[in-house]
């Protein structure tokens, strides 16, 4: 019958319409009632897919990457960055500027004096974090970065980029555990090399706990 195809289509949309009302109260208990609720759309969802941003937010997977952040040791307040410059070299749009520190005798100091990231050209590819040999630069999850002008506030300096190990361990628990294990293993190997007379060190079991946040070291963003 002519028009039956259209009618069948209408039935499908009607089903969707009804499901939006019948399914969601079951699945999402108090929509938008809890502030900062985090929601992940399940695979078998049939009802509403949208979230009520900013009251509700979508869950962020650990590997999610936005702008980079610099890791500062939680206990000592020391930069993990040694200003080796690999991140600045591998950066595809060349948005990282580093001034390497100098010691009083003029030799390079393994610490950045200045560190700039031009967020107007950063393409969030994650290469800096991927190729940093010191785990000193990682990708931040923070994506709510609107500003009133695009010149000064879009150029992030070292202070704005720095976060503590505590912060990193909280946002990236899985990566933190893996990297800590690798570092502990390497440390144990180095120790064994340095003191060959002593018996082999006991295997390092747990990752070192991230230290408390030093005052003033954390950026305004976390």
């Amino acid at each position: 019958m002519f028009g039956s195809g259209v009618l069948r289509g209408m039935l499908v949309t009607l089903r969707h319409f009804v499901e939006t009302y019948t399914e969601d109260p079951r699945r999402v208990k108090a929509r938008a009632a809890t502030p900062n609720a985090v929601r992940q759309t399940p695979n078998d969802a049939r009802g509403l897919f949208t979230v009520q941003y900013p009251e509700e937010k979508l869950a962020i997977p650990e590997r999610f990457r936005f702008y980079p952040m610099l890791i500062v040791d939680g206990t000592t307040g020391q930069d993990w960055c040694t200003s080796c410059g690999i991140c600045a070299k591998v950066c595809p749009p060349q948005c990282i500027w580093i001034v390497r520190g100098t010691q009083p005798n003029g030799k390079p100091k393994p610490e950045p004096e200045e560190f700039y990231l031009d967020t107007t050209i950063c393409m969030q590819c994650g290469y800096c974090a991927e190729f940093c040999p010191f785990d000193a630069i990682k990708m931040n999850h923070d994506y709510e970065l609107s500003a009133y002008e695009r010149h000064e506030s879009a150029i992030y300096n070292k202070e704005m980029l720095s976060v503590t190990t505590t912060f990193y361990a909280r946002t990236h628990p899985r990566a933190w555990a893996e990297e800590s294990a690798v570092r502990a293993e390497k440390e144990a190997r180095d120790k064994a090399k340095a003191a060959p007379a002593t018996p082999a060190p006991a295997p390092v079991a747990a990752a070192p706990a991230p230290g408390p946040a030093p005052t003033g070291a954390a950026s305004t963003r976390p």
């Binding site: 499908v12 590997r63 070299k89 950066c91 393409m123 150029i155």
Partner: protein, 580 residues
Amino acid sequence: MAAVIDPLIHTSPAPSLDQAFPDVVSIDAGGATVVQADRLLEVSRYLRDQMGYTYLANMTAVDYPDHLEAVYHLYPMKVIGNEPSQGLIIKAHATDKDDPVIPSVTSVWPGANFQEREVYDMYGIRFAGHPYLRRVLMWDGFEGWPLRKDYHEAYYEGDTKPFASRWPGGHHVRAEERARFARNVAYPRHWDPAKATSPDESLPVVDVSELNTIHTQKFVINMGPQHPSTHGVFRMQVTLDGETVVDVMPVIGYLHRNHEKIGERNMWLQNMPFTDRLDYFCSMGNNTGYALAVEKLMGVEPPERAEYIRVIMQEFTRVQNHLFGLGQFLSDLGAFFTPILYAIENRELILDLFEMTSGSRMMCNYMRFGGVAYDLPPEFMPLAHELAFERLPREIDELEEYLTANEILHSRTIGVGVLPAEAAIGLSISGPLLRASGVKYDIRRHQPYGIYDRFDFEIPTRPNGDLYDRYLIRVAEVRQSIRILQQAFNSLPDGPILAGRKAWQIRVPKGEAYGRVENPKGETGFFVVSDGTANPYRYHVRAPSFVNIQALREMSIGFKIADIVANLGSIDIVLGELDR
């Protein structure tokens, strides 16, 4: 109704080029055939008519210190002999850099039209006999040939990255402050705005008919660049006779950023995230294409698990791209937002998978030379498995349930925007568009890359080449992709995901390679030339949207203006790769 053309028909081999043209052709170091420029047309005709190279996949040029070289990548649609052909590369040289001339092959392969215009635009090679040789991506008054090695762009800082100013004394300078033109924009030396002709004037603008009763005029209207149905900043100059389309000329380049120049400044690895920005729906496919081309030169093979992950990612990409493409197409037809929002629901779940694996929903930057960047996270498999085995088959059934038999869809699409098979091959059309015109051609089957030869899937074709067939072909391809996904999940092995160590300083051996993948929109090809250094000497992208858009004219003439919008939607263009 046209019959289905199956390229797996064997024809007898013809005498090879060096037998037929002994003093015209020579083989260069890379195994490509160099043809004397003045005999190019003759050789091209022989290649097409006698040897069966009917499909010009890619055409570009390279700037060498003493000459400009035009490169043509040809593939047969019919398989010659028993083996699927690896294709043929022919080259022609232009030695006079001040006025380089090479005969145009548009009369042999009409698909060379836009690609030759692009080469003219970027290198200044004049193609003698080209029907409409104008700049295609840059504006008409632009001075200089941007892809020549001696051309410096506005924010030029150095020939190759990394730039020395970033480290160790990296004091920040904003890119705008480096602009050669400062805040002023000057007209090029030889260009006078008062004397400039606009491209519009070369079209038949006014043609008063000699009818005695009613005097009608043809008129040109511009659809776009800001038009809701053009999928981005894209303009069509449409010449109309009443409501009937007489001529269509796509005007592009509004989003041009010279991706290829950026690519030649970049180091090899640095190009990977830039390929994401081409067809931003299919960044996984673009990544794979680029990785394939460079892996060919480096001679590395990804480990087994990485190959499977690549297939999984590419097929998920195809599913989400086709779902979204169908939604867009239906929106263009006037089915506002129901199909596209239903499509986006499922696309959303696939993008969640991309995000948890690669860190980004669309700009995945996931493939590396010799593997992939990260292993699948533990939560990936249950979700992906559920999608591939349960949700997606169900959803595609539902899509068919509410659309395929819809009488309004039928009346808008059946018999509209027809693209005959011969025209499609000639215009170098690829992807679903080519298969909807009845040509059974899919790179995954005819020149398998990765591990596609291990999967059992069909290449769907449709006989008519109209809008309805292009809708059906995408539905059928989603079903085949789901089949591939299911097989991949059933045999995904454990193991390493990257051959060798992770490295950012990559030196690629001298040579040139063309990596092509069957992206959802068509053939995405990456042509790279290495001179053995850390940066590519030449980096060219064969974008399916850029070549496929040539079909718009063929499929729109004679139909109504409302059908143009639908035709454009059925080509499924993305401006990120159309303008590059």
